[in-house]
Symmetry: C2
Subunit: 300 residues, 2 copies
C-alpha cells in the first residue's frame, strides 16, 4: 500500500563532539521516506531550491522513492539546518535555521498523490498539515508530527488538526508542553483525549511510549554502542513505523506495536552514522534480524 | 534463601513541587529490605542514633525483616538527608546531608549474619563494603551499589571491590563517570570488564540496562501516572531484584532477567507515595499482577 509523506527536505550541517559534516542530505520527509522505503513504496512531497544537488534526488529514486512531488523553486534556496550535539549525544543546540523555500511551502498534490491511503504529515505548520489533509480524502490512516514552535504559536490550529488525524507522533518535551503536564503517562493520555486515536511519544535514546483508548505501553530504544549522529532518528522512527503499517495494510493494535518496534530499530541504524549513510548500507533483512534481537531482549 | 543487606538507615526530608514530608523513614538498607521482604527473608545491617524512633524498627520487624543488625549508637544521631525534586520528578537537589553515625559505620556481622548466601552491599565507601565482604565467606551472590563520591575519591578501593563482587548496580551518570564513556552501552561493558560478572545500570524513569559477558539488554521503567516521591526507587529496584533471586536461590540469566523485571515493578510502586507508604499498602500478589502487565506490555 503506497505511503505518502509531506515534510521538509533539507541540507544539514551537523557537529558532534568528535566529528562534523557540512551540507549533508536531511529533512523530515527525506529521513522518513528512506526509512519507510524498506517496507513499502513511498511518495514524497517537498520543496527545494536551485542549490539542490540532483544527486540527492537520484539517490532517493534509486531506492524506489517517488520524488515527483519534490518541487524545485527557481531562484530559491533549500531549507538549511545547522546543529551541534552535546557530549551526551541526546541533547542538541540549533545553531542556524534558514527556512528558505520551506518557509513558503504550500503543498499542492498531483492526482497520483491524492488517492494515498497511508499519509504522514511531517513537521510543518498545522495550517499546512490541514491543507494536505483536505487533499487526501481517501486516506485510511493519517498520522502527523508536530513541534514546540506550533504548540506555542498555532495551538488553535494544532487542536483543529488533532481532531482530524488518526495518530500523532511527538517528542517527550513537546508532549509535556502540549498537555501542560510533567508526567509523561498523564501527558500522553491528555494529548490523545484531544482527538487522535493514538499518540506516540518519542523519548530519543529512551525509546517510545504508545497511547490509545485501551492501551498504553513503553518500548525502550534499541541500545547501540555506536551513536555518531542522532539527526533524523525521530523521522526514521516514524518512517519505519508507517512503512511497516503500509506494508501490512493494517493498523490494528498488534500491527501498531510491531510497527513501533520496527520504528525503534530503523532509528537505531540511523544514529550509527551521519545523514543516511548507515541506512544506505543495510537491507530489510538487517532490520528483521535486529527486530528479532530486540524482541528477545524484551522477553523474560 | 535469606538475604543480607548492609547500608544506610536514614530519616529523610523530601520536598516535591507539590508536597513535602519531614523526618520520614528512609535509607538504602531500609528501602532495599522492605522491597526484598515481599520475596525472601531479609537481614538488615545498619546504624542509627538515639533519635531513632522505635516505631520504625517495629514497622520493619512486622514485615518480617530481621533488624537485629541495626546498631544504636548512644549519644549519636541518625543519618539525615534533605532533598528537593525538580518539576520533572527525576532530577533532584540535595539540600542537606548529615552522615552522623553513618559516617563512623564499621559493620561487624554477628554469627547469624555471617553465613548469608545472598548479600547486597548498599551504598557505602568501598572500604566498608570490602570489610563486609571479608565477613561473608560463604556468600554465593554478592552485589554492590556505589555512587559518584566513591568513584571520585576512592577509585582504587572501588576497583578492588569490583574484582571481588558478582554484580554491580549503579545509575547512568555514575556508570559514565566510572567508565569515562558517555555512551551507556559501551560504559556498561567497560564497567563489567573491571571485574563483576554482571552490571545493572539504573536509568530512573527510563528503566534499567543489564550487561554480562554474553548478554546485554534494556528494560523500560513501568510507566505510572502517579509519581509522588522517587526517593528510594533505586534501592527498591535492587531490593526487588535481589529478593526475587534469593527466593529462587538462583542467578542464571533467565532468573536475573525476571529479577530485573521484579525490581522495575517494585520501584514503580515505591515512587507512587512518600517513603514506604505505597509499598506498605501492597502485597506480593500486586507485584505479580503488575509484572504480568509489564510482560504483556513488552510483548509484540
Amino acid at each position: 500500500m503506497p505511503l505518502l509523506v509531506v515534510g521538509s527536505v533539507a541540507l544539514d550541517c551537523v557537529e558532534t563532539p568528535t566529528d562534523k559534516r557540512d551540507d549533508v542530505l536531511g529533512g523530515s520527509a527525506v529521513f522518513f521516506s528512506y526509512a519507510a522505503s524498506f517496507f513499502s513504496p513511498v511518495k514524497m512531497i517537498g520543496t527545494v531550491g536551485e542549490d539542490w544537488p540532483q544527486e540527492h534526488t537520484t539517490f532517493l529514486e534509486k531506492r524506489g522513492i517517488d520524488t515527483s512531488g519534490i518541487e524545485m523553486i527557481k531562484g530559491g534556496k533549500t531549507f538549511r539546518w545547522r546543529g551541534r550535539y552535546l557530549p551526551n549525544m541526546n541533547d542538541r543546540e540549533t545553531l542556524e535555521v534558514h527556512l528558505n523555500v520551506f518557509g513558503e511551502f504550500k503543498p499542492k498534490l498531483q492526482t497520483n498523490h491524492r488517492d494515498s491511503k497511508f499519509v504522514f504529515l511531517g513537521n510543518a505548520s498545522p495550517v499546512t498539515q490541514l491543507s494536505v489533509l483536505d487533499q487526501v480524502p481517501d486516506a485510511k490512516l493519517t498520522v502527523a508530527d508536530t513541534m514546540d514552535l506550533w504548540i506555542n504559536i498555532q495551538r488553535d490550529e494544532l487542536e483543529a488538526l488533532l481532531k482530524r488525524i488518526d495518530g500523532l507522533v511527538l517528542n517527550d518535551s513537546e508532549a509535556k508542553l502540549l498537555a501542560e503536564d510533567e508526567n509523561l503517562v498523564r501527558a500522553g493520555h491528555k494529548v490523545r483525549a484531544m482527538g487522535p486515536k493514538f499518540v506516540v511519544i518519542k523519548k530519543g535514546e529512551h525509546g517510545a511510549m504508545f497511547f490509545s483508548e485501551h492501551e498504553m505501553y513503553v518500548l525502550p530504544a534499541y541500545p547501540t554502542p555506536q551513536v555518531l549522529d542522532p539527526t533524523g532518528a525521530g523521522d526514521s522512527f516514524a518512517g519505519g513505523m508507517m512503512g511497516y503499517l503500509a506494508s501490512k495494510d493494517r493498523y490494528d493494535p498488534q500491527s501498531l506495536k510491531e510497527a513501533l518496534a520496527y520504528g525503534v530499530v530503523t532509528a537505531s541504524y540511523t544514529v550509527e552514522d551521519f545523514s543516511l549513510d548507515r541506512l544506505a548500507g543495510i537491507e530489510r533483512a538487517d532490520l528483521d534480524r535486529r527486530v528479532a534481537e530486540y524482541r528477545q531482549m524484551l522477553t523474560f
